[in-house]
Symmetry: C2
Subunit: 226 residues, 2 copies
């Protein structure tokens, strides 16, 4: 039996040359005498792996130096909580609801402050992206949240919302690395890697460094602070 090309919405197919390389290095990663899975996260060999991964992403997306790149666990769903816990300084955020994932993020944010649904396409089963050129952005909104691509409904933002100067936070799980983006237009770009970048289990968060502060909501777990 040959290789199957998996088109499903979840975890996606990986390049054969990558899988072959991983298989070949399984018992001895580049002369270290061990698998990547056996080495210390403080070892030189691993340090080079993670630094190269970050640099490759920085090169591909042209990520400016004042943005941090974080490789995290917990999936996009954990970001639904981490974003308000870390960014809701005023306790207010505006959400644009274009599908189930944006809705889940919005509902989670309500646990932490005033989350406003400032636009939605729920009226037509999320079959379109609302006009976002002049939305009622809250005066004290800490951020405006979007899910940039909505696989289930086949919709994608063609232009980013006019946030009227507020920080834009975008879940790009299903369009990550699929086209050139101007990172400077976002405060946070994040997504699970399982569709476009690698195997399931990692979420990448690209965040402007001034958004990373000690001033998080009370009760934010240490491991959930950017």
């Amino acid at each position: 039996m040959g290789r199957v090309y998996n088109f499903s919405a979840g975890p996606a197919v990986l390049p054969e040359e990558v899988l072959k390389e991983a298989a070949e290095e399984m018992l001895d990663y580049r002369g270290t005498g061990m698998s990547v899975m056996e080495m210390s996260h403080r070892s030189k060999a691993y340090e080079e792996i993670i630094q190269t991964a970050e640099q490759d992403l920085r090169d591909l997306m042209n990520i400016p130096d004042n943005y941090k790149v974080l490789f995290l666990q917990g999936g996009a769903s954990q970001q639904f909580a981490m974003i308000p816990m870390n960014l809701m300084k005023n306790g207010v955020a505006d959400y644009i609801i274009t599908g189930q994932w944006a809705k889940k993020a919005y509902q989670e944010a309500k646990l932490y402050g005033q989350a406003n649904a400032i636009a939605s396409s729920a009226d037509k089963t999320f079959s379109y992206i609302p006009d976002c050129s002049d939305l009622p952005i809250s005066e004290n909104a800490d951020y405006v949240y979007i899910c940039e691509n909505n696989t289930i409904y086949g919709t994608k933002y063609k232009t980013l919302p006019n946030t009227k100067g507020k920080t834009l936070v975008a879940d790009v799980s299903s369009c990550f690395l699929s086209e050139p983006v101007d990172v400077t237009k976002y405060g946070v770009i994040y997504g699970g890697v399982q569709k476009n970048i690698g195997p399931a289990g990692v979420v990448i968060v690209i965040i402007r460094e001034d958004l990373i502060t000690e001033d998080v909501l009370p009760g934010t777990p240490t491991m959930l602070r950017y």
Copy 2:
């Protein structure tokens, strides 16, 4: 160069036959035509993997049916927050401090309620396990917390603390599966798998099912609820 046997305190050596099997299955897991890393978490092939993993652990540890086995992310450090967020119904927990990891768990618990250090071996650089036969367990303690094995200091509980009927929660990251245990003596047994069970990235939580409730602390992220 031959294989290196890694004795370090962090991620440990994996069995060669396991690595070989993983390498051989990298492009085609048992005739599915794809790698494990490419398949849906809802597929039959993956369902069998996770169910077999759970059953193997249940068999090895003789885990009773009224305990759930959870495979989670975030490491033991994320459990330091999840435990109080999920179990502190009275807002009180007792901690026995036998090393840096117990201390970190204790400090994290203080974010969520009254965490009491009811015993400690900090006076002699954690070189011993305190006498835990008659500790001042708090009357309304939701649980008593220990780190069962302390690699850095070379100490391990030979007998479990007398919790006077309170739920025992134990971090067993560095002694997981190293000897027979009576699961029924614990409310929660948890640990990172990277030392004794598998590659880094997963934490296993074995939890008595009556401890899993909807009644969690306000602000507990959805993904952090047992």
